[in-house]
Homo-oligomer: 430 residues x 2
């Protein structure tokens, strides 16, 4: 028998597409060799010899993808939400990230981050480290051990940082990046590097151009921030006066990626029509971070416009501007944000349905990793088994209703097991 | 020794006023005869003979007040958030509330509600039942057993309900209300009746006027809904054409309450200047329900204006338009809503600080119950002991930081014990 092959039984729920959720009460979910063979209301004859794990009434959903999370900021999650972006960076973020020069501090902090990510609903993540090579490599080592599949970036910053958090020149930043890539080459199976210019204000033209070239030369992807905050957007226009919009600034430096090596751009709160067409042209992924955008008073991204334009969209928790790595909560806040956008900004932008928000957290972000984020045949087998039995009900709730309820109300939803590519990486211990 | 007298030791945190939180790491909180004698960094000599319970590093905060929650709707919490208010009422709410005619259904459903409220951060609640006397009395019996202190209302509706959920006339509704008041008279210590006209569209002029008179005659308080949704506001203007604003409609019928018997008006999303002055004049409490107002795409209430006007404001979860009875989560969403109001509606309305939102959830709503919601001397002793030890940290977090962190990020905050007026009403069992 092939390894990592088995059948899970339970209340199975997953996206068919952006607008439809499929659900089976007492359904069967088949994993063969780490790949999903589909979910079925009745177990097919050909799978009857596979080992079956029966989770009874528990829910089984695809693992979720966090497209944007800052590992070093996990230490100050949930505090210091009283400022807007640029002040928040200088007051809370840069001083904290500077501490990761100390590898012992970094190791302990990244232990916390990795362990909490392991016991979250997330199976795939795209992660920022800091500018420090050693600390970022330690983060990759720890993430690799969790079994979660991730991209991790050593951050590049050669301007507008703080005394303790800035590289001395574009050349030094590029050299450090190449050294980091060499140091980790071939070491990890599940943890890949991604180039990570923090954002235009942190990176000189020369650095940004160098990273664009490095990405093409080595076939690497790029992640960065885009149009998060009004003051930031105005600053970028000053810093790159020849750019026609913020995304065009990345484009000018060859740092917007391609369909083959798509970039992730976090936020896009103030992306207008031109920016949307640039995102589309390069096959970029928008990491929509509604929790963060509310916490830092940034605003609300026009997600409906991105979807209508056919842009790739996934969700990011954006810890620590987002306060939690819990993507169920992010789904709730994403829906609420889209309703407030509809109500307060643009009455023609239909709010996101639950189906759409659930899709974004699973298939939408999962697409960045390939065939990931659903239980359709041929997708990689990432699954989370959830016990919601403490949530009392007056009638038999459908599996579809129960998955919605735990996104709105997750206090009584406990992860029992978590699988990535068919391997169990977490089991509840209490 | 007086009964209900003891000292709790732990990380103590409470509001001094709207803008200041007091916190003691390893502090002492004194309860004598169910009343708070204050919190202290060092135990005063005169309290050294009281029994001391040492909670070590755990947090101890005042119990929270939920100013607006619909008990019968708890059965469909977290599902059906795809509609706006008036459609949502007809599609989900009225059909569910109609079921409470069946007392066995009601008893079981209210068991769930009461038990989950008992294990929440809430120690005081103002609760809607349904139009059914028997079910509402059963709800009061169950709430009384929890030890939580509450107001509970039998709902009045004599128009615009549904086939299964409407009283046949104003007279019948008033008669049922008097019968309910008689049936429960003197039966409960902690559970008081409150008159509960659902909202203007549900109550004829005659019914509303009758309830206003009944309130005055019996010294009862009134709770209702106010200016939640634009279509609702327009409808009220049609239904009561002589009213100058929605609050004035209540005022015309003598149903706005008084400083002595203040009413609670939930939502107030669309309350303008005149309405604010009416709320102020009658000493009314605004139950601010940010979670609900986002879920039903209602909008965001101008809380800053209410506070500036000196109006009483507390928070409501508004289950089931709000999805959870967890007031920590309501604090988070309240802050986010105020930031989006600032960003998208009125740039002169400063967002709520954490201090302000925490105050609203504790002292703000607590004021409706008298001296409730803080650990200052002379307040009733409502306290919640919280274990947040699963939240890993890289440094000693202050108690003030930890209370903020669990509001933003409550997945790892567990209630260990809960006290109301000095009586322990909940102990963690697992």
């Amino acid at each position: 028998m092939k390894k990592d092959s088995f059948v899970l039984r339970g209340g199975i729920v997953y996206s068919k597409n952006l607008n439809e959720i499929e659900a089976y009460d007492g359904g069967y979910l088949v994993c063969e060799d780490g790949s999903c063979k589909g979910a079925f209301p009745v177990l097919l004859e050909k799978y009857k010899d596979l080992p079956l794990i029966d989770f009874g009434d528990m829910l089984i959903m695809p693992g979720m993808t966090d497209l944007h999370v800052h590992a070093p900021q996990y230490t100050f999650r949930g505090i210091g939400m009283d400022e807007e972006l640029l002040t928040w960076l200088n007051k809370y973020t840069f001083p904290e990230e500077a501490k990761y020069k100390d590898i012992e501090y970094a190791k302990k902090a990244y232990d916390h981050f990795s362990e909490d990510l392991r016991r979250s609903f997330t199976t795939r993540a795209v992660v920022y480290g800091t500018i420090h090579n050693e600390a970022t490599t330690a983060l990759m080592e720890k993430l690799e051990k969790t079994g979660i599949i991730s991209f991790v970036g050593k951050v590049n910053m050669d301007r507008n940082g703080s005394a303790g958090l800035q590289e001395s020149s574009a050349a030094e930043s590029l050299k450090a990046t190449e050294e980091w890539l060499e140091a980790i080459a071939g070491r990890f199976k599940n943890t890949k590097p991604i180039l990570t210019p923090r954002f235009i204000p942190s990176c000189s033209d020369e650095l940004m151009r160098g990273l664009g070239e490095l990405a093409k030369e080595k076939g690497l992807r790029i992640q960065s921030h885009l149009s998060e905050n009004k003051a930031e957007c105005a600053w970028v226009k000053e810093l790159v006066p020849s750019s026609s919009c913020y995304a065009n600034a990345y484009e000018l430096f060859g740092a917007m990626g391609s369909n083959e090596f798509p970039s992730i751009m976090a936020h896009c709160v103030y992306s207008g029509e031109e920016e949307i067409s640039i995102l589309k042209k390069h096959g970029a992924f928008v990491a929509h971070c509604a929790d963060s955008n509310m916490n830092l008073s940034s605003g609300i991204a026009p997600v409906r416009k991105f979807l209508d334009a056919g842009i790739n969209v996934g969700l990011g928790t954006d810890v620590a501007a987002g306060s939690s790595m819990n993507l169920l909560k992010t789904v709730l806040i994403t829906i609420q944000a889209s309703k407030m956008y509809y109500r307060l900004v643009d009455n023609s932008a239909k709010p996101l349905s639950f189906e759409e928000a659930f899709y974004l957290a699973t298939m939408g972000g999962g697409k960045y990793f390939g065939k990931v984020g659903t239980f359709q045949e041929g997708y990689e087998f990432d699954a989370v088994v959830i016990d919601d039995s403490l949530m009392k009900s007056m009638r038999d709730m459908s599996v579809r209703e129960r998955i919605e309820r735990i996104c709105y109300n997750d206090s009584d939803a406990f992860i029992v097991e978590k699988y990535v590519r068919g391997k169990k990486i977490y089991t509840r211990t209490r």
